[in-house]
Every structure is written in C-alpha cells, then in structure tokens.
C-alpha cells in the first residue's frame, strides 16, 4: 500500500507554510501562486482547507494526457508530470474533476502534486499536523477515493 497525504482541515490555521514549501520544492522560489497544494479559506465558517491531488488510482489526468507525460512513480504511486514530455495542452487540467492540475504560464507546463518523491515538503512544513504523510490505509484517504469514484464517468463493477 502506498503512503498518502492525509489532510485534517480542523487543524489548519491558514498559515500557508505548505504552499511556500511546495513552491520552493518545485521551483526554488517561495511562491504560493505556483504551489501544488492550496489552502482554501471559508471565511464565514472560520475554516481552512488544504487541498491537493489525491493520486487517484485510475487517474483522469493521466488517461487524458495525449502525449504520455503523466506517469506513475513506482515507489510512491504518485502521478507525476514529466516536464520534458508535457506540451502544455492543458487537457489534464479540465479532465481532473478535483481541479488539482493547474497550468503554469511561465513554464508552459502543467503542475500537480507528485508527493515530492516520497517526502512531501508540505507535510514537513505544516506546523499543526494538518497535513501528514501516512500509510495508505488511512480511512480519510479511502473516503476521498470513494468521493472520486462518485464523480467518475465510468462506474466499474
């Protein structure tokens, strides 16, 4: 079983350390605009929800990619963008129903969470354990998988 990111919004304070860590990991600059994890603020409810790719088993983004630029990392199970192959067509950005694959104008490529090769920077940077990297049998992850399945076009038996 792969390990996965576990997110507990109740513990999030909205500090965005995760976004800085992610963007630094990705491009060597502190730049939340290019973070692959995003914290959404529900101001009226006083709620902060970090959100990123669930690395779904049957990945829409991967299937939709016309040039084979999204690959599964054998060790982490992460769906990774191969930047040398990505042509920037953005089909994956509309195919992913979670809205977690985004286009980076500066690079002309898409970006998504790749679990940092098995040591996610966001989880390391999170001061409140709202984001942790846990064994894959974490129930919440399965819940998100189930959620993913519900949005599926093709319901498998």
């Amino acid at each position: 079983m792969y390990r996965s990111l576990s997110i507990d919004p109740d513990k999030c304070t909205g500090c965005l350390q995760c976004e800085m860590a992610c963007s630094y990991e990705y491009e060597g600059v502190f730049n939340p605009a290019h973070s692959r994890i995003k914290v959404f603020t529900f101001h009226q409810e006083g709620r902060f929800v970090p959100y990123t790719c669930t690395q779904c088993a049957d990945a829409w983004c991967q299937h939709a990619c016309p040039v084979d630029a999204i690959r599964v990392d054998a060790e982490t199970g992460a769906k990774e963008i191969k930047e040398n192959l990505c042509v920037g067509c953005k089909v994956c950005t509309i195919a992913c129903p979670f809205g977690t694959v985004n286009y980076n104008h500066d690079r002309g490529k898409v970006l998504k969470c790749d679990l940092c090769g098995g040591d996610p920077a966001c989880a390391r940077a999170c001061p409140t354990q709202a984001i942790t990297y846990v064994d894959g049998d974490w129930a919440g992850y399965e819940k998100m998988r189930a959620w993913a399945a519900r949005t599926d076009n093709a319901t498998h038996a």
Partner: protein, 410 residues
C-alpha cells in the same frame, strides 16, 4: 481469444492497455493505417510551433511499450467488416479473424464543398503528414489563410503565428469557436487575436480557391479576394465509418453504441471520436474530444474482457489556448430553459466566466483567462452536486467554483 482494435489513436491505445491489464492471456492486436509509432493529433500544433520534435507527439514514448504489453501492431487499412464471419477485410487483401472487435477509427477532416480545395498548398492539419506539408510552406513572412476558427483551427493558429507567418483566419460562423464559446467569449477571443496581429474575418465564407502567379487567390463572401501562400483547412471532421457500409453496424452520426460501448452487432464495440453515444445531459451525440475518447475506450475494453462497466454519458469539455488567452468550456454552457445563469465580464483584461445551472446543479460553464482549478467545474457538473448555499455564492461570484467544490468534500 483475440481482441482486435481498429485505430491507433488515444482510444485505441488506451483500450489495448486496458484489455491487457485485465486479461493477461488473450491476444490483443492494434491496427492503424498511418506509418510510424502511434501518435497524438493533439500534439501536432506543438510540432508546428517547433516546441517539440516528432517523438514528442508519440502516445507512448517507450518504443518497446507495446511489445512489452504483448500488443500486436499491424499497419494497414481495414476495408470492410463482416460481422457474420467475425472477420475484417484488410487493404493488403487478407482477412483477419477476431473474437471481439473495437472500432476506434476516429474521424477525418471534411472538405468544404468549394472549388480549389484540392489544389497544392491547400492542406488539412490532421495527420503528421499534413503537418509536414504545412511546415514546408509556412515560413516566416508567408501569407497563410486558416479556414475555420473552430477548436482545431484555433489550436493550430498559435502554432502558425509562432512560425512567423502573416495569418488570416476566416470563419463562417458569427464568432470564433462557436461550438465551444458563447458570443461574448467568442468576440473576446477574436479581439484578442486581432490585438496579437492576426486578421480575423467572421461571418465570412471562402467561395473559391484559384491558383495565381504568386500563390493562391481566395474569393470571399463578403469581402475582397485575398492572396495566400498556404491555406489550412479546418472546417470540421466526421467519423470514419465508410468501411462499415455493408457491415450491419448501425450508424447514426457515428457508430451507435449503448452504455457499454457495444454497437448494434455482437462482439463489436466502438469508442472515441467514431462513436455516437449517450450525452451527459441526455440524448446522444458524437463527442470528439480527447478525455471522452480515452474514457469510452476504457469502458469498451472492460466490457470486452467481461467486466461490466458503464459509460454514463459524455460531458463536453474543451480547453483552448489562443496565443496565451486560455478558454475553457464545459457541458451545457448554452444553458437550459428555466435554468439560472451567472456571469462576470472584464473586457479590459480578457476575463470572463459564465456558469449555467439547472435548479441547484451546475450543468455547464465557460471561463476565459481563468485557468486555476478549472477542473473543479467538471467535478461539480459530473457529480451532480447539490450546491445548496453555494448556488447563491456562485450566482454572486461565479469565480468561486473551486471553493464550492472543496467546501463539499467530506
């Protein structure tokens, strides 16, 4: 058991892989009529723009991929299907038996019914071969006329522009990408293209192309004739079903399939651009788009190996990058009767968002200049999420769709 797949586009390749993943034993054979490795038409514009080389268009980059998957490949054309005998007549004169057959033959460009479309230097932009022709003629400074500002026309446009050509786009419809964008968005894209130095003529038809001393002459209605060194025709496509004339397979606008991607004939399935299946919003249609091609292929393949899978209808979705202005459309962006609509327009910065609702469901939308988290629109539409209080929030500010999505995640 022998699975035969006709067509080596994304649908054919994904189907072959899905078959193999769920059936280690059977023979899987992939037939295509173009030379070289399986490639993606979606990538051709990037080849034209010199952003990638030909390998960059390949659907699978590992040259031993199909071998390792034990997927056989055959380069030939299928001339006819005999469903009774479960055989295919091939262009090389032989026949091929199948146990289960997937038709993923895609579509081909349609020529407008005008004089001169068969002249040299008038090309489609559909195959790698077409791309090579275009690359030969479309050099810096050359005059290029692009016929058709639909989705395909528009994705080629940037590539041509990047090659430094003097580009004129002629579209018969009253706006750019009329099947994907409403009037507001289509006009914004048009203005954007004009600002980028492209001449755009909408509501204009090319009536005749004739050779001249210095290139081609294109006669327009309305307007003066224009001169071109190269004409690229992108006026639409239609499913490749010609070889099925006598087969008994029911054809509508494409091969008619049920929710399991089965055609009207036993053991014959269809997927991708060639099939006419259920639409997400009800009714039927041909959904010639990349994400639906691979999803229908997966469903078809699963059923072919005896795993029941259902395709609950194709949701239209498109993303287009016209010289840096990115537009997205989903589902029923044109709306339904009695449904609410919310939109925001900022002409100055080229931003636009429009959401369409049916009750408190999102059923479609358009964004222009907004790329962050657009996939969530698909999530909201496809999960038929009850928006509850978020309906009101989205009516007030439709850009908040990602929040609407995240807020309803458990």
């Amino acid at each position: 058991m022998r699975h035969v797949i006709v067509g080596r586009g994304p649908a054919g390749v994904v189907a072959a892989e899905t078959l193999r993943a769920h059936d280690r034993a059977s023979e899987v054979l992939l037939i295509g009529d173009e030379p070289g490795p399986a490639y993606s038409r979606m990538a051709i514009p990037y080849l034209l723009a010199r952003q990638i080389r030909e390998e960059g268009t390949w659907l699978r980059h590992d040259t031993t991929h199909f071998e390792r998957q034990r997927v056989g490949q055959l380069e030939t054309r299928v001339e006819a299907l005999n469903a009774e005998s479960k055989t295919l007549a091939l262009a090389n004169g032989t026949t091929l038996d199948y146990d289960r057959l997937l038709l993923a033959t895609g579509s081909s460009p349609v020529d407008p019914p005008i004089e001169g479309v068969d002249l040299p230097r008038v090309h489609h932009c559909w195959t790698l071969e077409d791309a090579h022709h275009i690359m030969e003629s479309a050099e810096a400074g050359s005059r290029v006329v692009l016929m058709g500002a639909g989705f395909i026309g528009c994705i080629i446009m940037e590539a041509l522009k990047l090659r430094g050509v003097r580009l004129t786009v002629v579209e018969a419809g009253d706006r750019m990408v009329p099947r994907m964008m409403d009037q507001v968005a289509g006009n914004l894209i048009k203005q954007w293209c004009i600002d980028q130095g492209i001449e755009v003529c909408t509501s204009t038809r090319i009536t005749r192309i004739e050779p001249g001393d210095e290139g081609l002459w294109l006669h327009c209605e309305p307007g003066e004739p224009m001169q071109a060194d190269l004409v690229v025709v992108a006026t639409g496509v239609r499913p490749n079903v010609g070889f099925l004339q006598e087969s008994g397979v029911e054809i509508g606008n494409g091969i008619r399939v049920d929710a399991h991607q089965r055609s009207s004939v036993d053991d014959v399935y269809a997927a991708g651009d060639v099939c006419e299946g259920a639409s997400w919003q009800g009714g039927r249609g041909v959904h010639a788009i990349q994400p639906m091609a691979v999803e229908t292929a997966r469903v078809a393949a699963l059923n072919m190996v005896g795993r029941e899978a259902t395709h609950v209808g194709s949701l239209d979705m498109n993303v287009l990058d016209t010289l840096g202005l990115i537009s997205v459309s989903y589902g029923q962006w044109m709306g339904v009767e009695g449904g609410d609509s919310a939109s925001l327009l900022d002409e100055r910065s080229g931003r636009y968002v429009k959401l369409r609702f049916d009750g408190d469901h999102l059923i479609g939308g358009i964004t222009l200049g907004i790329t962050e988290h657009v996939g969530a629109l698909r999530g909201l539409i496809q999960s038929r999420r009850h928006l509850g209080v978020w309906k009101k929030h989205l009516m007030e500010n439709p850009t908040r769709f990602m929040e609407a999505w995240v807020s309803t995640v458990p």
